[in-house]
Amino acid sequence: MKGPIFSGAIILAGMFIFLKFLLPLVTAPLPASLIYLYLALVLSGIMIYGTMSAPSLEAMMGPIFRFLSGKGQTGAGQIARLAVLVMFPLLVGWQTYSRLVPSDLPPAENRTIHPAPPGEFVGLSNPYPKTPENIMMGKGLYAAYCSPCHGANYDGKGPAAPGFNPPPANFSDPGTIAQLQEAYLFWRIKKGGVGLPVEGMPWKSAMPRWEEELPEEFIWKIIMGEYDGAHQSPRTWEEEEE
């Protein structure tokens, strides 16, 4: 099997396999729309190459034209041509339908889980020393005030957790408090869900605004107990400078 159509198809298929399956081995997977865009560019290149001269045009389009005209076809060829001629309008119809049919999915939500804190909370450090007594007190306060949602095991699986959307944060996950500084937690605990900016969708959060009920000392100690209990360390300025 040879000819420009076949080579073009091989190039396209190879490009697709490269973008879809090989590239994700070394980097993040590409969105489908980007893969489609790249393939469209490759197809354009093939078309330009194939139509550069009269002989190359004939080599590329000739077999297609002969196939479509149906002249002298028998058996499998006839059936294949009929199938193509029937499938094309059906695909156009299906495309038309799928583009016009109204979506019945709820609006997509792009909630930012860790939005930027207000300026006054940036760079604060925990004023209490990490003594066993302070950590112990923090864990006790955590058990009383936080564990109903965030869980006795710091895993976001407290008895009240299943009812909430978004779910309570899982502190043992390396993607939550391990990525944050103590000052960030201080802000989130103090101001609660209602303190979030618009991209954090504060209207959905059940996180209490603890400044109404707990002194700052308790909050700093809860943070200490939380990191210790979840076996995580806060992100520090030193790490960021590296």
Binding site: P106, G193, M207
Partner: protein, 278 residues
């Protein structure tokens, strides 16, 4: 001239080009599927009268339900750590004029103070699910609450924007009917899709609204009602929609697309057969 093998090859090549073209349909990422519970309530469109008066009506049997987990209200004092109602099944129907929403949940005893409520955001501003309480960086809107209590046997149409602002509306637009049977409450709330009252949620067919749920177990334990006021089972916001009337004009466009594609093919094939270049 093409023989069978040549045609097969051409078909294969066509197929590959076709797959590329076809893949444009999927060029947009499919939505991520939710694997925990429901995310929305669909109020299905039905003809004629709604089963608003009868939670046990057989009309409800054919309506698919959504299910939502509930949590003890721990967001604000007075908190509660353990609640009776753990989840709720919700069904909805509408007929273009009226809507009815059925909530069904387990509660082992029927008590005078048993109660259920639906909450909706009103207007364009997002309202916090806890009675539209104040948010610090976002200007919020009010909520409309439909509250039913067993001992009164009726619904109260209420409004709130912030804690301690909950009040009964001057204009009452909501009805409710509850039936307790074998450890299960079924409560139907009903209203017209739209009202004249600016304090009410306005339901437009095909448009998503936000809804939240709350339930109180009014059982009396040691002389005190177990759940009342802020001590209740709650959900945060979920979506609800009155399903729109099917738009049949789409099929007209589909037929037009089919016809145009077929006509295009006909022209091409005729030209090719006459030996013209396309």
């Amino acid at each position: 001239m093409l023989n069978g093998r040549g045609s097969l090859r051409t078909l294969l090549i066509f197929g590959l080009f076709g797959v590329l073209w076809f893949s444009s349909v999927f060029a947009n990422e499919p939505p991520a599927s939710e694997d925990v519970g429901s995310v929305s309530v669909r109020m299905y469109q039905i003809e004629g009268s709604l089963p608003s008066e009868d939670p046990n009506s057989s009309q409800w049997d054919s309506v698919p339900s959504s299910e939502f987990n509930l949590a003890p209200q721990v967001h604000w004092p007075p908190r509660i750590q353990e609640v009776t109602v753990k989840s709720v099944k919700v069904k909805g129907v509408h007929n273009g004029q009226e809507l009815a929403i059925l909530v069904e949940y387990a509660d082992p005893t029927e008590d005078a103070a048993d109660a259920a409520a639906l909450e909706f955001m009103v207007g364009d501003k997002p309202a916090h699910f806890a009675h539209g309480q104040e948010m610090l960086q976002v200007e919020g809107g009010p909520v409309n609450i439909w509250f039913w209590k067993n001992e009164s046997g009726k619904a109260v149409d209420m409004s709130a924007k912030g804690f301690k602002t909950l009040e009964s509306q001057p204009h009452q637009d909501v009805q409710a009917k509850g039936v307790w049977q074998n450890g299960t409450w079924k409560v139907v709330f009903s209203r017209s899709l739209k009202t004249e009252d600016s304090q009410d949620v306005q339901v437009e067919e095909g448009e998503w609204r936000s809804v939240a749920f709350a339930f109180w177990d009014g059982a009396v334990v040691d002389g005190l009602v177990k759940e009342k006021g802020g001590q209740k089972a709650v959900s945060t916001w979920w979506y609800i929609r009155a399903e729109p009337t099917a738009d049949n004009s789409i099929f007209g466009w589909v037929i037009l697309g089919l016809a145009l594609a077929a006509a295009f093919e006909l022209v091409i094939v005729r030209k090719l057969r006459k030996g013209q270049s396309v």
